[in-house]
Amino acid sequence: MISFYGYTDGSGSYFIVVDSDKCDGCGRCVVQCVNGVLQVAPVFIDLEDKSVVVVRDDCCNKIGYLCAQCRPEENQAPCFLSCSVGAIKCVFDAC
């Protein structure tokens, strides 16, 4: 399952995208995240609660601000760089 955490508003689109089929819940990205945006939590997939990385509920609507310092639009975000299985990426396009 591909989860888009974030939002689109008048200023642009800001999403952290997690592929829960690829994510093994190792938590490296959580450690790397400077703003505490990420956590490993159970997600209901195929009747199981699989531990994968998610964006914290209270951060989803602030991704555009919380993640701005990591320059996600240039693929420099530590979460993205730390993932060895390609399960997390940042899709930021400010207009």
Partner: protein, 261 residues
């Protein structure tokens, strides 16, 4: 040499007249129904205030988010270059110049010669501009000019989840019902806005000295929140809301001097 700059925004028009590097006069007026008429009136007023006539003016330069007409044979320059010029005019060591107006926010990065090297702009989401504070002040039933001082009375901020002007209004109303002090709600409003403006600035980097211009610079509540958020001192230019018009006039002046030589 005398030059005039005007900044035509969505709500107001600002006109500045300078003689070399001296500000002679400045005028602000509402756009109203007829922007052309409003601009002409403002220019007449500013000429009168400076005690000169139109033929004394070497050049007119226009900028602003709603600049359309080419009245007075004015050259048009971007708001980015105008605020960069004005910011470095006031503070020669300025590297980051932030402009927060009612309907837009932008930031410019300058190199050590005052030349713009990068910029970022938000003019499409009201939650990142002065309009957010205006709407929340209405919901709080506080005059917009009182919001800043009110917020400074708070030691802490309430928690506002909404990140949209429309949703924020109902959020503020429910905080009022919960009997949260208005000062703490006001501080939360400024913190939320400072969050959004600073996230925009992070994209070009926070390089001191940081200068704030535009109407937002006159709001003590916003300035306090922005300083806290950025963790650096934020310098405020004199008459910050005229920065766009002043920058335009300064650019016009520089061009005239170049062509004269």
């Amino acid at each position: 040499m005398i030059t005039v700059g005007f900044d035509i925004g969505t709500q107001s028009i600002k006109v500045v007249i300078i003689n070399d590097n001296m500000i002679m006069a400045r005028v602000q007026t509402f756009v109203g129904f007829d922007p052309v008429q409003a601009l002409q009136n403002a220019v007449q007023q500013v000429l009168k205030a400076a005690n000169i006539v139109q033929t004394d003016v070497a050049s007119f330069t226009a900028t602003g988010s709603s600049v359309e007409s080419t009245l007075y044979n004015a050259a048009v320059v971007s708001m980015m270059s105008a605020i960069a010029k004005a910011g470095t005019f006031y503070f020669p060591n300025a590297r980051t110049i932030i402009d927060v107006g009612a309907e837009e926010a932008r930031a410019v990065k300058c190199d050590d010669r005052g030349v713009m090297v990068d910029f970022v702009v938000n003019e499409r989401c009201a939650a990142g501009a002065g309009a957010f504070v205006e709407a929340m002040a209405r919901a709080l039933e506080v005059k917009i000019e009182d919001m800043g001082l009110l917020s400074l009375k708070a030691e802490r901020a309430s928690s506002i989840n909404a990140t949209c002007v429309i949703f924020g209004e109902s959020d503020v109303v429910s905080l009022i019902h919960k009997q949260e002090p208005k000062s703490e709600i006001a501080r939360a409003v400024y913190d939320a806005m400072a969050d959004r403006v600073s996230s925009m600035i992070y994209r070009i980097g926070v390089n001191p000295e940081v200068v704030l211009v535009g109407g937002g610079a006159k709001d003590v509540g916003f300035v306090a929140s922005l300083k806290r958020k950025l963790g650096v001192d934020v310098l405020i230019a004199e008459f910050p809301e005229y920065a766009g018009a002043l920058g335009a006039a300064l650019i016009g002046l520089a061009k005239c001097k170049v062509s004269k030589n």
